[in-house]
Every structure is written in C-alpha cells, then in structure tokens.
Amino acid sequence: MLEFLKCPVVVTAEVNLTVVALAAAGLLSRLWQLAHPRAVVSDPATRPDSTQNLDLRPVPPWGPGGLSVGWLAGHSWMEDPRERESVWSSDFDEVYYGQYISFYMKRVFFLDDSGPPFGHMLLALGGYMGGFDGNFMWNRIGAGTDAQALGPSSTALPGHMQGAGSEEEQPGLEPAPIWGAGTADRGLTHCTTVPAPPEYSPNVPVWSLRLLPALAGALSVPLAYQIVAELHFSHCAAMGAALLMLIENALITQSRLMLLESLLIFFNLLAVLSYLKFSNSQKHSPFSPAWWFWLTLTGVACSCAVGVKYMGVFTYLLVLAVAAVHAWQLIGDKALSHVCVFCHLLARAVALLVLPVVLYLLFFYVHLLLLYRSGPHDQIMSSAFQASLEGGLARITQGQPLEVAFGSQVTLRSVSGKPLPCWLHSHQNTYPMIYENGRGSSHQQQVTCYPFKDVNNWWIVKDPGRHQLVVSSPPRPVRHGDLVQLVHGMTTRFLNTHDVAAPLSPHAQEVSCYIDYNISMPSQNLWRLDIVNRNSDTEIWKTILSEVRFVHLNTSAVLKLSGAHLPDWGFRQLEVVGERVSRGESTVWNVEEHRYGRSQEQREREVELHSPTQVDISRNLSFMARFSELQWRMLTLRSDDSEHKYSSSPLDWVTLDTNIAYWLHPRTSAQIHLLGNVVVWTSAGLATLLYVLLFLWYLLRRRRNIRDLPEDVWLRWLLAGALCVGGWAVNYLPFFLTEKTLFLYHYLPALSFQLLLTPVVLQHVRDHLCR
C-alpha cells in the first residue's frame, strides 16, 4: 500500500530553455501594450461608408506617421499616449467578431456563415473572463450585418417596412418624379454619413478580449521550433523557424487583435506537431501513454482548427493524408500480426475520424446551449427552430393548438425561405388586366408571398363540405390527403388557381383569390393536403412541425413560391404560382401562427385576426435537428460579396503586393498596417521554389536508381516537404477557387507553414549540397 514511501519520489523534468525563451519572446511581442488602440475597431470590409472619410488613395505604409517599416509596423506606440482615448480606430474585423461576443454575453442567437462557432466562443471566453457584460454598441450592430444576412429584405422592400396593412393605404406607389429625386442627391445622403468614432467604453475589457488570440500567436513560436525539431532537423534550423515566426510582422499584427487567424494557425501547427510526435513514438513505443496522448491531441487540434474556421479543414485533410500513407505502410508491414494492424488502424480511425466529428458536434452543442434567446437572425431559420428559442416566435406561438382543424386560422410560411422567408399573403388589389408585356391576366385578387408579418397573412382552413368558418367542438383535425379550401381571412376570398399564365413565370399557373366576374370562369378552389414529412398516411396536420404541400384538385398543380419579385403593381412582393410538375422546398409550406377560429361574422373575425394568438403547448427540437439546420443554413447562406479597397487576389499575396491599413490616427497619423516582412516572405518563397526543384531532381535521379541521399535523409526530406510545402499549398491554392472577397490575412495560415521550410531547406543545402 505504502510502497511508494520506500523509495524516494523523484520528478525529473527536462526543460528546453530554448523553448521557454522562445515562448517568452513570443509572449512579449504579442502581449506588449495589447490593449493599445483602446477604441472600437471597425472593419472597412463590413462598412462601405468608411471609404468616404478616408482619402481614396491607399495610404503608403511608411506614410506620414513616419512609422517604421518592418515588424515594428505591428505596433503603434509612437503616438502620444494622451491621444489614445480619442483615437478613431479601425482594426480590421474586430467589430465583426465583437458583436458576436456581445451576442454570446447576452445569450442571443445569431447566425454567422463565416465559420463554425468555436472561434467565436473562444473570443467570447476572453470577454467572459474579463467580465464583459456585452453592453456595447459595436457600430452598425443590427443594421449592417443584419441587412447583409437577410439579403434584400430591408432594402428591396422599403415600401413595406411600415408594417401591417400599410400597403392597403397606398396602393400603387406613384413613381417619384424623376427630377425630384435628382435634386435630392446633391445633398448628403445616407452614404456619406460617417459613423460615430467608435471607442471602447470602460466596461469593455479590451485586454482580455484580445488575450486569447495573442496567446495563440505567441505560442505558435515554440510550436514552430518543436515541429522542425521533430522533423529531425538541427537545433539551429528549429531556432531559425521559430525566429522567423517571431519576427514576422504580419503574424504579430494579426495576433494582437480580436481576430481568429492566430487561433487557426496555432491549432494547425499544434495538429502537425502532435502528429509528428505521435508518429515518432510509433517506432519505439506504440500504445504507450505518450502515443495515445499525441494521437488524441492530433484529433483534438484538428477539430479545433476546423471549429475556428472552415479553412482548417485543409490542414486536417493534409494530416489525414499523411496518416493514411503511414497507415498504408503499416498494413504492408508483414512483421505485425493482423490483429495488431487492426488495432492500430482502429485507434487511428477513432482518434482522427470519430473524435474530431464528436468534438465538432460538441462545439455546436455548447453554442446552441449558450444561445437560447431569440435574436436578429431568427428569420432565416425555420419556424420550428425559431420556436425553440426563448422569446421571438416562441412567445407568439407558445400555447398555440398543435393540430390544425377545419376552421383554424393559420399563417403559412414558405419552408425554403428563398430568396426571403415569407408568408402566403393576399390583399384586395387585383392582378392588372394586361401586363407590361401584353399578356392578359384573370384580373382576380393577387396572391403573393410577403416577407413581413401582416394581418393579411391569415388564412382560414375550410372544409369544402360545410359552410362554417369556425372550429366545431370537438375540433375536427385535418389529415393528410384531406380536401381543404383556404379562405383569406381579411377578404374572405378562396385561394384559387386556374389555367392562366402566372405574371412572371408564364409556364406556371396563376394563383389568385377568386372573384366571380361571371365570365364562365368557375372557381377551382379545392386543394388536397399533402404532408411531406408524414410518418403515416393518416397523419394530422400539425402547427410548425408539419411540412405540407397544397395540390390543386382540378389541375394537380402545386402551390409554389416562384421567388420572383412582382413589379410595382404587386408591391414587389414575391410571386406565388401553381406549377404542375414541381418539387423542392419552394413548394413546401408550414403553419406558423395558428388559432382556432371562433367568430362567425366577418367583422368579428377581423377583430379576432388583429388580436394576438394564445393558448399553450411547448415544443422541442432535438439537438441533431437543430444542428443540421444551423449547419445547413451556414453553408448555404450567401452573403453579398463585394470588392473592397484592400481586397486582393491570391497572386498578390505571394509577391506581397498588397496590404491592409487597419488603423489610422486622424491627427498624429500613427497607424497600424498588416504588411508582411519582405525579407521573410521572399526567403520563404525562394525556399519553396528551391525545395520543389530539388525534390524533383532527387525524385528523377532516384527513379534512375541514383541515390544522392541516404534513405533516412530522403524520408526526412520527404516528410518535411509534405508538411511544410503541403501545408502551404493546401492553405493557399483553394483560394483560387473561392469567390469571396479575399484579403491579405487569408494568406497567413499558408505563410506559417511556409516559414518552417526556409531553415529546413537551408540546412539541407548546407549538409548535402555544400559539402
């Protein structure tokens, strides 16, 4: 029991002082005056207005501030510290991430298509540690980003922002006289209004918000050292790599702000390092604790990298590829038994495939756990998702009856939400007799899809066989396959479609609310209910949960959101058509608001429709359903990509033909620029080129059986190339295919791999070519 008392307890620690020193230097460079531009950061990328108050010509980085070139450019301590508080600042994306941090602090749900939530959560952790309460107006919060996320909803339909019923009062907006508008543009318009100089209020813990990225940036330095050392290159080479990482000013600049690149770089390097450690321990001690530790850490680091930015996927794939090659060699190792090989493969599969997936899910789990309140991006999500958030739609739908019955009053939302989330809508205006292009219409009442809540979005589900528009007691639920009529609540007209071409999609049928003009065009208003996500054929139509299609009885056309915007006569609402052969999400609808109709009389009913719904049932969506919906929306959301003053193309990065001005002091002209160190970039580029040439040379010679290098040197050379050049390539080349607006900082992950190569190539040249 007390065996251990009999022998002395000895802890032998091996401390590589070089690593410690490098880490210290890294910390010093990244953390010094970290809170320095103590002002809110605004990203010119998300703020088109900013160009107005800057000189249009790019400020040369060595500009009037007389700031030094080289790595000092990362800091801007040279201006008078007293000025600090009044600085009009702009670090790049800080405002972008800052608002999400606030959302985390306030537990408000948001949707960001730029990357998975882990990076955002880490930044928010910094805020949490610093005691940030989230109360800060990041500029353009709720305006810019929302408009961007929601697409044209707030801009393309300005006439309808006024809310319910407003359009009825002003049918057919008269086009403003052209000269009137012409004179207006002489003055300042919204484009020229300069946002208030954003400045951090005292409750914002700037230092701790920027701490984690800075730490990650600092720790990348010793990581670089160890990677080169693990590749079995000399101490000198390892030092060289770490020093390059330390003094690269672009990396410093990027680490010192509330941004994600340094975290991504850190996890990328960590994944590579731990895989190297793992594969080195594979030779002498498989299945030892260290082996397990490094293997697991590889998987963890990979999933963290992916969790910070999707870009991390490429490094993950690289590590997987190297691991696959090693595993393939393992399979070919006939000294090992089948069982042993199987165990090896299984361990790798669990650590490198299963574990990252689980962790990735975990990030989303925590993300959704933290954000339980409804927020500005609710609209993009499905009704069911919205109902699972506190506040927002949940508050409205809370207590709605679950089962739709004959006589129910419902709003019908298009499930696809493309191009805009909207509800089936009608209003008293009719289709114009003759369209602009000369085609005729039925001149019946318009049916559209309207992206705002409106009393005209209410429809009553009616049993074709009976006259009542109220729910009988007990309520008779509507089932899959039932015939229904849909009655527009405010106008009591029936949803109808017929063989008349739709206004904008002439191949499809027009959908209208039927007005009997007595011109031998009978009403065709019977619809068969088709529940798409049903489990059985007798399933009941449920609020929010059921996704339904309406199939027209006479023509078998399906009610569909065509997605086109109607012209002025249709108030630029979205067109709804009946299409004979059609599928896809745009034909699917779900009930969002629902109540049992009680009033017989039209007048009473109008009052009823105007009043809010209530009653009670709670609904929960499983985590996987929420995750898959969120992930899908993140991947399919198209943000408006645009050019930017500092945007650049991937080719500019290698030649360092671009920079980003992050911050400029209006008076002292002190500034922060993201700009690479020319010497470092050139040498890294040359090293890559030299590596590739040497590699090809050796490869061809080996093929002719001329061995210039001993086998182990060759393998080491190969592995170094696979990781460094490969890491550079996988993090760089995909950008040629992306269509997003790109900036210099997108190149930094690739650069961090390329930097490792310079000393490796130098040592190789010295050892094997300059003998």
């Binding site: 010509r57 801009t155 508008a181 543009d185 630029r572 408006d640 050019e643």
Partner: protein, 811 residues
C-alpha cells in the same frame, strides 16, 4: 486490330529470342498452353501463324527491349504470358486479330484453318452485332418528332449560321457546330430555317441530315465502349455487357438522336479513350506503325473533344495522367537508355500536345474564315475584331481619328463581353437608388449606345460650322449626353443597384442641362498617342468630378427591370481593372476627315486569344438565376430527374431524357461494389496474402482496367461539383459511359470469381440474366426515347403507368 498484330509479333519475337531453337520454343509454349486449354485444339494455330509472321529484321536494340517483355503499365499485365484461365475470348481475339483472312488463306496448316475461321467469326460477329444493334436503335424513328426539340434550337441555329456564314457567339468551341453545319450542308439543308424555339415544326426543311449525323456519331459509342472493355478486360462477356448497357440506355439513345453537341463530344471522348487503351496495349512494341497510329489517333480525338466543348479537357486530363504514369514507368526501367526515354517523351509531346494544339487552332482558323459576315455575335468582341466582319459598320469603315467636342460616339468597355455604354428611357425602379434614367452596358449595337461628347461649361452647339474644331484632350472635363434621350451621364452618392459599395450611374437632366454631377474627367491610360483621344486605340477612364469615383461596369446582370443588361457603376476604389477602362468605337463627326480602319485588323493569335477569353467569360456568366430550378450534380448518378426534350401535355409528342433506371442504378451499385472489392483486394495484396493464380489475374483486371475506367468516371463527374455555372442533366453522360464500362468489367470479373469458387454455370447465367434484364428494361422504358403520346404516367391508362418509380420523373 492493328495493334494486336504488333503484340503478337512482339510475343513471337520474345519467344524466339528467349529460346534459341525456334521450333522447341514454340512447341513448349503451345504445350504449356494446352495444359490450360485442353478443349481448344485450335491453339496450335498460334504457333503456326506466329511462326509465319516472324520478321527476321528486328533491330538488335529493340530486341533487347522486347525481351524484357515490359508489360503495358495500365493494363491487365497479369494476364500476359501463359493464360491462367480458360477463356475463349482472348485466344479467339488473338488469333483473329493476329492475321487477317489473308493470313488464314495462306496458312500452311490445313487443320487449323477451319477452327481459325470459327474464331474469326467469334471475334467479328459480336462486334458486328453490337454495331448493328447500336445503329438500329439510334436510327429508329429518327425523324420523330418533326419539330425542334430542346437545344436543337441553339445548335441547329448555329449550324445554319455556318451555312449562312454569319458570325455568332457561343460559349463552346466551334467544332461541333461546324460539323453540324457541314452535315446540314451536305444533306441539302439550306440554312433558311429559323430555329426560333422548341416546338417549331420543321415542315419542308431538311433536318434529317443533321440528326442523322449526330445519330451516326452517337451510334459509334457502343462499339467503342465494347472494344475498350474488350481490350481492358480481355473478356467478351464483359464487353458485351457494357455494350448492352449502353445500347439499352434510353438516356444515351435520346441524347444521340437530336441535333446536339453531346453525341459529337462523346464520340470524340470515347474515341480518345479507345485509342489510348489500344496504344497502351501496343506499349511492348514502341515506335511501330500501330503504336504511332493509335498514339496520333489519341491526339486527334483529344483535339476533337476539346474542339466541341471544354468538357473535353477532362479526357485530356485522363490521357495526360496515363501518359505521365507511362513515362514514369519507362523512366524507371533501367534497361531503357535515357536516349530512348527522350524519344518516348518527344513522341508523346508531338502526338499528344503539338498535334492536338495544331488541329485545335486549325478548327478555329476554319471557324473564323467561314464566318466572315456580321451577325448576332459581333458585340461580344472587341472593336478591332469586328472590323474584319463584312456587314459590320466597322468593316471597311473610315472614321475620324481623334475625338473632338460634338462627336457622336459609342463607348465600349475594354473588358471582353461587357459591351457598350448604354442608356434607355426607363427609370431605375423604386428603391434602387434615385429614380432616374437607367445607364447600363449592352452587348448589341443599338442607337441607344450613342453619346455626344460636350464641354462641361458651355452649351453652344459644337457642330456649328462657324466654331473651330476642338479636340478632346487628356484631363479635360467633359459631359456625355445620351443622344436619344438628351440626358447626361450622371453619378451621385447613391448605392448602385447591385454592387452596393459603388455609386449609382444614371441619366440626368433635360435636353442636356443637368448639374455638376454630370462632369467627368477623361484620363487616358498610359498616353501612347499624345494628349488627344484616338478612336479605338486610346484607352481611357472617366472619373467623376464630384465624388472622385471611376465609371465602370461590374459585369453583373441587372434583373428584369434593367432588361438583363449589365450594371454600370461608379467605383470609389481606384483599382486598375479592365472594367473601368473604355475605348471609343464608333465616331461620327462631319467636321473631321476620316481615316481607314484597315490597319486595326487583329492577327490570328490575337483573334484566337480573344475568342477564348470571350468564351470563358460567357461560360462563367451562365450563372443560375435566383430560384431557378437547377440540376445538381448529385442528382445525376441516381437518375433523379430527367430533362424534357419535347412536349409537356398529354396530347403532345413527348420525349424525356432520362437514363434507363435499371442501367443507371446498376451502374451506381457497381461503383460502390467496385470500391469495396477493390479496396479489399488492395489491402490483401498489401498484406502479402498469397492469392491463387486465377484470382490474381482477375484482380489485376479489376484494379488496372477497372481503375482506369473509374478514373475516367471521376474526372468526368467530380469537377462539376466545383462549377458555378448552370448545370444540366446531360452533363453527366460522358461520365455515364465510363460508369457503364466499369459495370461491365466489374460484374464479369466478380461472376468469374464466383464461378471459380462455386460453379461454372454462375458466370454464364449471371451475364445472361444481366443482359436480358437490361434488354427487358429497355423494352419497358423505350417510349421515353422514341416518344410517347397519350396520358401522363400517373394516369393508369398510360403506357408508362407504373413506371414512374421516382416522384421526380415527369413523364
């Protein structure tokens, strides 16, 4: 064919060389074979004919190579040498291919003759049958329907353009359309049919020649696939199965029957694949005539494939990869001198790079020479290009050289396929900036492209003959007045309609009177021609005086309200891009002397480059419009949804492009099974498991032959996931060809493995049932391709009732 002769010669040479006493060697060889083929006495023939064919004049250097017996790198190498398994196909084919009828007639050995003839029949009859069946299915009811189907409206029209020699623009290279035009010309079509829209009746116009040509090329797909699989797997059943899958696929059939580019494209793709495989099997006899023949044929087919559509790049990629692997193999063979490797390399560069490039260029040369009249495509091209088209207003034109105040001009964007600065009497709609007159760019020539250049500060008529001519100079402040509407080019601090970070550009003012936002500074980019602005040559930028932004076109297509013309903006970012550089094209000024434009005609390389730039831009421009239902690549292999070629209602003659579901789902299954079995075999081999010789041989076929076809499938399928342009179902068909070949190879091999393990009959029964099953499914689904009239499939009275297996099929 040719190649087999070569291979046999090589084998023969090898035998003779390795075993000095010739007769003994041959006898030994045949005896060894007899062990495996006791039931094939005709094998004696291999001896006799080979002996008869021996050529004594093989140079020593080549002998050395031959003796090594290098296996073709990407082929069933494991099958070479003594055959491990009894197979009629191989020996039959070998014998038949070895020596034509002539050889048989002259064969000294009488007894062998009859059996040989039998083998020749066995070799040729299946091929003839397959070809015949393919032609029969493709040409059956070719004339139906007698109206334009689907994209015939484009490609038929383009064929007519060739016959009429009018210049047009299309996103695809010209070869396919040229061939269609040629076919139409030869078959007596006069190019007068308008091809306006699908459904238009052909009436008296002769369209059958063009359809027949496409069907002719489409029919060759089946024999090509048959031969390819035969060569890859050395198995007749596999080849027959592949041929049946393709013959009985309604999709391939439909696609081959109309005036489309796809049959032409697939013809060249399959021709390239076949000749590549053939040339691979000649690898043991490099630099022989058949080797050269197949190698150059590969190059020619590649040029053809690329000349029809850019999708041809994928087969080029495949041939390229194969060639690299081949060269890598040769390079690693230490018995081959570097000199020889160099020769190999040169041969491939000549045949696979230089030859196709030359042909491809030649295609364009023909294209440009043939189309010498102005037509609908002019505006897509630069001003200088247009000067060579007769009928274009720039052809043989003479216009004033330098821009002066009062000139009426058209302003063209320098970026290709953007067009002319344009305005028209329509306003920007409510909510899109200020409600002023739209300014766009427009690709077609139009009176609305005309602008008058005026001084910013005076309104006096510069054309007044009394006033002196004043030239526009670099740095001048000007106004541009739209000639038709008399509004000035104007910009202001309002968001542009699509590019929200730019400013809106409008037409403003009454009769040329506007405000200071109408002033633009004209700046010539690298002033080569002094301070004056030279027509066509000077490239200039227009800088808005008040906001400092630059006039440019974003290249984005405006919505319906803007007539789908391109957006014009004023960009505050002063980046040097072609989008914001303009030149003057038309120039009318009665006060100035004219000069001729002849000097501006571009050279052929310039024309070539420009047409490619325009094509690539056009291709990228085919973006799916918002909410348009587009086909997604993942739909294709599962045959999720077809394409309606003709007709929609129950009274129409309906043709629906949809793969035969039995074939397609079998293909899909085969890919999965192949991946599974392939990886099992690969792992087993890597673990060093000793496989029996039969299994070893079969796995080689599966890994090498199947691998090559699988690569083809992947190369023709996966790139579509990366494409941003509009995709259609028919884009999958080249990949489908490869997938069917894989199915043929896979099931034959698997059934052989089963037969080896269990009972011999399994193989025959399995193959037969697959063949019959495909044929029966074709019988069920053939109305899709040959057309159907009557109620739709959901109606129980329809002939297709019960065949709508997926909800998403609309027939």
């Amino acid at each position: 064919m040719l190649c087999a002769t070569g291979r046999l010669l090589a084998a023969r040479a090898a035998t003779t060389l390795s075993a000095p006493p010739k007769s003994r060697g041959s006898a030994f060889r045949c005896r060894r074979r007899e062990l495996h083929f006791p039931e094939h006495p005709e094998l004696l023939f291999c001896d006799s004919s080979a002996g008869w064919l021996t050529r004594p004049s093989v140079p020593p250097g080549r002998r050395a190579v031959l003796r090594r017996g290098r296996m073709p790198p990407a082929m069933g190498g494991g099958l070479a040498g003594p055959e491990p398994r009894p197979r009629r196909g191989r020996s039959a084919s070998q014998a038949a291919r070895a020596a034509g009828t002539e050889a048989a007639a002259r064969s000294p050995k009488r007894p062998a003759r009859g059996s040989w003839r039998f083998e020749a029949v066995g070799r040729w009859v299946p091929l003839a049958l397959v070809t015949l069946l393919s032609f029969a299915t493709r040409f059956h009811r070719l004339e139906e329907p007698r109206h334009i189907c689907w994209d015939e409206t484009h490609f038929g029209k383009m064929g007519s353009y060739y016959i009429n020699r009018t210049f047009f623009f299309d996103v695809h290279p010209p070869l396919g359309k040229m061939l269609i035009g040629l076919a139409g010309y030869l078959s007596g079509y006069d190019g007068t049919f308008l091809f306006q829209k699908p459904g238009d009746k052909y009436e008296h116009h002769s369209y059958i020649g063009m359809r027949g040509f496409c069907a002719f090329l489409g029919s060759w797909l089946v024999p090509f696939a048959y031969l390819t699989v035969l060569d890859l797997s050395r198995s007749l059943p596999a080849a027959l199965l592949t041929a049946a899958l393709l013959t009985f696929d309604t999709g391939c059939l439909t696609l081959s029957q109309y005036i489309l580019l796809d049959p032409i494209l697939m013809f060249f793709i399959m021709a390239a694949m076949l000749s590549m495989v053939k040339y691979n099997s000649c690898a043991d006899r490099p630099f022989s005539a058949p080797w050269w023949f197949w190698l150059s044929l590969t190059g020619i087919s590649l040029a053809g494939a690329l000349g029809v559509k850019f999708v041809g790049l994928f087969i080029i990629l495949q041939v390229g990869l194969n060639t690299i692997a081949d060269l890598w193999h040769l390079f690693g063979d230490l018995s081959i001198s570097l000199m020889t490797v160099g020769k190999h390399l040169t041969a491939r560069i000549l045949c696979l790079i230089v030859l196709p490039l030359a042909l491809y260029t030649a295609i364009f040369a023909v294209h440009i020479t043939v189309l010498n009249k102005s037509g609908p495509g002019d505006g897509f091209f630069s001003s200088a290009f247009q000067a060579r088209l007769s009928g274009n207003n720039l052809h043989n034109a003479s216009i004033p050289e330098h821009l002066a105040y009062g000139s009426v001009i058209t302003v063209k964007n320098l970026k290709m396929a953007i067009g002319y600065l344009h305005s028209h009497p329509h306003l920007y709609p409510e909510g899109v900036g200020a409600r002023q007159q739209q300014v766009t760019t427009y690709l077609h020539k139009d009176y609305n492209n005309l602008w008058i250049i005026k001084k910013h500060n005076t309104d006096s008529d510069p054309l007044d003959p009394s006033s002196p001519v004043e030239f526009v100079r670099h740095g001048d402040i000007i106004r541009l007045e739209h000639k038709q509407t008399s509004r000035n080019l104007h910009s202001h601090y309002h968001e542009a309609p699509l590019t929200r970070k730019h400013y809106q550009v409008t037409g403003y003012g009454i009769n040329g009177t506007g405000d200071s936002n109408d002033f633009w500074r004209i700046e010539v980019v690298n002033r080569k021609f002094g301070n004056r602005i030279k027509v066509l040559r000077s490239r200039f930028r227009l800088i808005h005086l008040v906001t400092g932004c630059v006039l440019g076109s974003s290249g984005k297509v405006l919505p319906k309200w803007g007539w789908e013309q391109l957006e014009v903006t004023c960009t505050p970012y002063l980046k040097e891009t072609l989008n914001s550089i303009w030149n003057v094209e038309d120039h009318i000024n009665p006060k100035l002397p004219n000069i001729s434009l002849e000097v501006l005609q571009p050279s052929f390389p310039e024309i070539l480059l420009e047409s490619h730039m325009v094509m690539i831009r056009g291709n990228n421009g085919l973006k799916p419009k918002d909410n348009e239902f587009t086909s997604k690549p993942w739909h294709w292999p599962i045959n999720y949804q077809g394409l309606r070629f003709s007709g929609a209602n129950d009274t129409d003659f309906r043709v629906y492009l949809l793969g035969n579901p039995v074939v397609w789902w079998l293909n899909l299954l085969s890919i999965a099974v192949y991946l599974l079995s392939g990886s099992i075999i690969a792992v087993a081999m890597q673990r060093g498991v000793q496989l029996p010789a039969e299994v070893e041989g079969l796995s080689q076929v599966l890994l090498r032959g199947g691998g090559q076809v699988l690569l083809g499938w992947m190369l023709h399928y996966f790139p579509f996931f990366l494409m941003g342009r509009v995709l259609y179902f028919h884009h999958y068909f080249p990949a489908m060809l490869f997938s069917s070949m894989l199915t043929g190879i896979l099931w034959d091999t698997l059934l052989r493995l089963c037969a080896w393990r269990l009972a011999k009959g399994i193989h025959v029964v399995g193959i037969l049932s697959l063949l019959l099953g495909t044929a029966y499914s074709f019988y069920l689904f053939h109305p899709l391709a040959y057309g159907m009239v009557g109620p739709l499939a959901q109606d129980p009275e329809s002939p297709m009732a019960g065949l709508r297996w997926l909800e998403s099929w609309d027939f």
